[in-house]
């Protein structure tokens, strides 16, 4: 995803002189090509995220197209109020990136791990929220955010979990993507970001029981597509590397409780911080987000509903 991101920025910088990338002294190597080829369209604002977001707003008001890069723990989480007041309040076309969401910074502890960014950003009126899972969804989100000229936040979680999509998404996509084998099985797995590959693999183990979907558009939520999905399945499991409070799973519950109520289980990060240091895989296990752990949770949920898993 990071290569797609880097290339998109260079291509856009060459195409649109109004484009400018702002970073809070983050993104080592990610912007090498941009700095080499379009150095005037790269602005390191220093370790000062609050000011950077305000400056981006002023640049947008002055006719530029700022993209603001940071780690998800800082952009948007540290600067929620600047995004609200300076950018979203006026509908300014600023695209914000939060990199390393979830447990990517597994060895650096609570300051760099981020389970709150979707909850924070979803609550900001007028801000679109994306959570792509692979190169294809990233390219779709970037193009849609740029062309839409709306305040947008793009979450970048664990970036190298492999491709999910085999071909590009059309710009007319609703932002809810059925993966291979999805039809009218009893259970629907709706996953976002780094959990999509896991959902695909789990569904492949139980093709008679589960369909898997990727949901890269968190806000505005593709409510009609979700309601149609809810009509085809008897229960939903949401999967995200984010708090179970306020993230994608919460958004799905909110939408479907009105439009098409059905049992929904949210798999994600519980209401606690990481206790131990270790690899990314280690932290996924500490938080119960490995394939085996999720399989057990989904099986128990299915049993309660009288929907035992079947291969």
């Amino acid at each position: 995803m990071r290569e797609v991101f880097s290339k998109f920025l260079v291509d856009l910088a060459k195409k649109d002189e109004r484009f400018i990338l702002l970073t809070g002294d983050h993104g080592y190597a990610l912007f090498d090509a941009l700095r080499r080829e379009c150095p005037n369209q790269y602005l390191n604002c220093g370790v000062a995220e609050q000011n950077m977001v305000g400056v981006a707003a002023g640049l947008a008001r002055g006719g530029f197209r700022p993209f603001v890069y940071g780690l998800a723990a800082f952009i948007p989480t540290r600067v929620v109020e600047q995004i609200k007041l300076d950018i979203a309040h006026d509908g300014l076309p600023v695209v914000l990136f939060g990199d390393g969401a979830g447990f990517v910074y597994s060895t650096l502890g609570t300051s760099h791990q981020c389970a709150e960014d979707m909850a924070c950003s979803r609550a900001i009126a007028g801000l679109d929220v994306y959570s792509p899972c692979d190169d294809v969804e990233m390219a779709w989100a970037l193009e849609r955010a740029y062309a839409g000229q709306r305040p947008s936040y793009i979450r970048i979680g664990k970036a190298d979990v492999g491709a999910v999509h085999g071909q590009p998404m059309g710009q007319d996509s609703a932002g809810l993507c059925p993966l291979a084998g999805a039809s009218d099985q009893p259970l629907a797995l709706v996953a976002t970001g780094s959990m999509v590959a896991l959902a695909r693999d789990l569904a492949a183990e139980f093709p008679a029981s589960m369909a898997a979907y990727s949901l890269p558009l968190i806000k505005p939520l593709p409510s009609a597509a979700l309601a149609a999905l809810a009509q085809r399945h008897r229960a939903i499991v949401t999967l995200e590397e984010h708090s179970v409070y306020g993230g994608m799973g919460s958004a799905v519950c909110e939408a479907l409780s009105e439009a098409a109520p059905l049992p929904i289980k949210r798999v994600g990060i519980a209401d606690r911080y990481s206790e131990r240091c270790g690899s990314y895989a280690y932290l996924r296990e500490e938080h119960g987000l490995t394939l085996a752990q999720v399989r057990a949770q989904v099986a128990a949920f299915g049993e309660r509903l009288g929907l035992p898993l079947a291969a």
Binding site: I20, C45, G46, A48, Q50, N51, M52, V53, G54, V55, A56, A57, G58, L59, A60, R61, G62, G63, F64, E81, Q82, L85, D86, H89, D90
Partner: protein, 275 residues
């Protein structure tokens, strides 16, 4: 000079008249923050009369100078100037804070003439910096004036932004510190002593000056120097002001951060501001 002159508005921006407009709004809306507005009156009068260029007196003209009221609590002083420019009418004054009215009690960027949404402090300064940076990148001669409170300068983004302004030599960025020595709950020296603001901004890489913020000739002199001089640094004008300036019983009385006018205080204040 003559074509540039056409971009200035031929208003008097008389300080007593502006203060009477503020009183009228505050009375109509039962509003607070009168003292915060009174300390800004001469600063805004000088800016509107001689430094802010709005081609065609259009607050949304793309080539206008920018006035960012980062200290949003003084917004009634800007409303008074906007009334004189014809951007507001008497209905806005009489209907201040009435149900469904447009003007908020703090600067709101949706109103033409207010460039930033402020009140949560430290925001407008950063947005104004972005406007100044955009103008510089476009090669435009537009100026950005940003008014910051001394209490507001407790906020970290002010100092984050000061570093960026100096780093990028934003000479078109002119910040004016309304240094009235009072913040919401008391004196700045008791709460968060800022020391010598000119030395602080100078150490951050600004060209600085200190003037009496109610002396229009002195304000005019320094702003002229800032706008016409050759110093490449961003500018900081430390305006020594008095909160509540202009009405004897409000003068340096911090109660008028939050106090509301009664019929008696309204009449008394207006009486003092008769020509």
């Amino acid at each position: 000079m003559s074509s540039d002159q056409a971009n200035y508005f031929a208003g008097t921006f008389d300080q007593k008249q502006l203060r009477r407009h503020i009183l009228a709004m505050a009375k109509a809306g039962n509003a607070v923050h009168i003292g915060c507005s009174f300390s800004l009156v001469e600063i805004l009068a000088v800016l509107h009369r001689d430094f802010l260029r709005y081609p065609g007196n259009d607050p949304e003209h793309p080539e206008r100078d920018y006035l960012a009221l980062s200290k949003g609590h003084g917004v009634m002083a800007q409303y008074a100037c906007m009334l004189e420019r014809g951007w507001l009418d008497d209905g806005h004054i009489a209907g201040y804070f009435s149900d469904g009215s447009a003007l908020m009690g703090l600067s709101d960027s949706r109103i033409p003439g207010l460039e930033v949404t402020s009140g949560s402090l430290g925001h407008g300064f950063s947005v104004a910096l972005g406007l100044a940076l955009a103008a510089k990148r476009r090669g435009s001669g537009q100026r950005t004036f940003c008014i910051v409170g001394d209490g507001e300068s407790n906020e970290g983004p002010i100092w984050e932004g000061a570093l960026l302004a100096a780093q990028h030599k934003l000479r078109n960025f002119i910040t004016i510190i309304d240094e009235n020595g009072l913040q919401a709950m008391g004196s700045t020296s008791d709460i968060m002593d800022l020391g010598a603001m000119d030395a602080k901004f100078a150490s951050f890489g600004f060209e600085t000056a200190v003037v009496d913020g109610h002396d229009e000739a002195a304000l005019h002199r320094v702003l002229t120097q800032f706008c016409q001089g050759q110093d490449p640094r961003p500018k900081a004008l430390i305006a020594k002001t008095v909160k509540g300036k202009g009405v004897s019983f409000m003068d340096n009385n911090n109660a008028w951060h939050y106090s509301r006018l009664t019929d008696e205080t309204f009449a008394q204040a207006n009486h003092e501001l008769e020509v």
